[in-house]
Amino acid sequence: MADEVKLFKVTIDNITVEVPAGTTILQAARKVGGDVAPPAMCYYTPLKGSGGKCRTCLVEVAAGSTADPRPMPKLVASCRTTVMDGMVVKNITSSKVIDARNGVVEFLLINHPLDCPICDQAGECHLQDLSYENGKAGTRYEFKRRTFEKYDLGPYIQLHMTRCILCYRCVFTADQVTNKRQHGVLDRGDHSEIATYIKKSLENDFIGNVIDVCPVGALTDKTFRFKNRVWFTKPVDAHRDCTKCCGKVTLWQRGDEVLRVTTRKDQWGEIMNTEDGKTGWICNECRFEKKKTSDWVIEGPTKVSRHSVISANKYIDAIVPEETIDAVMGGRAPKLLMDIHKVSDVNDPSVDLSVIPGPATGKTFTTKSSTSN
């Protein structure tokens, strides 16, 4: 058969897999899975042309192919290098790769502000994971970190340019998913920054997806800003009929409040495909406007890796013991039961964080307590 795709045998960290010709080393390694898959900060499968910028996915090619078994002279970016038959790749088994990756992480962190306690991305940040795996606790950088003038990206998207690692993912998204590009990287070198190019607000229906592709906290959801930490919210798969997009999303809830809506992501942090094989981008309406549980059909809790902080204190199939007070007290209300909402100011049912458009301020909470008293 002529149209049959040729299968190449690749050995990655002593594990052999068969992949079709034209697959990149990164994708082949992801097929093996686990620690063998190199980390990627800029490469993003649904985005054409992404990759090759961050250098975190560097691997050593110990043998080029069966026909030419010479090793490649330098470490190669696995997201942009295709496999050859009989290729031998070393990722975590190579000390050269580990050293290089540690160096890359150190470079990425040179200008990163490390304001994780404030950043809304903390807990699902790829740079956090990467520096936890490959970084050093200290820094050797002695100079001032780069700063930028604050730039307003409209009511939905919050830009923190200081956190940006210039992966270009959002630029590719703006190019490929939305019809009109109003978004790009300006200037060069240390001064390069993501900008909307001559103060055009981002009004495209799908521009919200740049939040999901951002590996760090440079682009975050303004409607979710500071409302809760990611790991205290509960991810739930849900869908709705949307005329613009697939409508398949993950809701991040606190109780029954929907604090945030994102696309569904796979184990590599990339947007999942829907059943028809298309990338599950979602529109701005689904992402920013539908913040009520009644807007959505809930499918069930999202599967979260057990090692992720997001899975902390979340129990699937938990057996909740039956309320025994009624049976024991013969229907009488207990005299000494303390209602926590009468005492506590936190998670007050009268303050609905999901309906306020931006971050809460001191006023949000003070006006509430005066009405409830």
Binding site: F226, I340, V343, D345, V346, L353, A360, T361, G362, T364
Partner: protein, 165 residues
Amino acid sequence: MTWLESIYLWNIGKGMLITIKHFFKKKATIQYPEQKRTFSQVFRGLHVLNRDEEGRERCTACGLCAVACPAEAITMEAAERQKGEENLYREEKYAAKYEINMLRCIFCGYCEEACPKDAIYLSQTFAPANYGRQGFIYKKDDLLIPDPVKDPEGYKKALGERAKA
């Protein structure tokens, strides 16, 4: 048993001798609350929320104490610092509400370990007794250390004996 033995005089005397001996021993008790025992250097008591040198709250409501807390005693709600509040809060986000349920707290000190901003510390006092459970929900006002600029004496007192000079 002889008559002399049956009145137990000798045994009573022996018992009294033990009692009298204890009069001259060092007492095991102290006159609390006038007197207080010195705590161990690693004693973990009530929490305080720290301020920086300028009196701004250090806590940014990052939630690491709450996620580290094995008893799930800590809850908080964050707010964004507005223009004009820079003298109150150190960072752009702050804890608008911060509560520790002292009924749940087991004083393990994990919150102190987790805090990236040096904001929460366990002090050398323990939670005072209370008649109702309501009194054990400690809010931000109860936990915040006195302002070192406005109330240096109260701040110094709150730092305790362990504070480095």
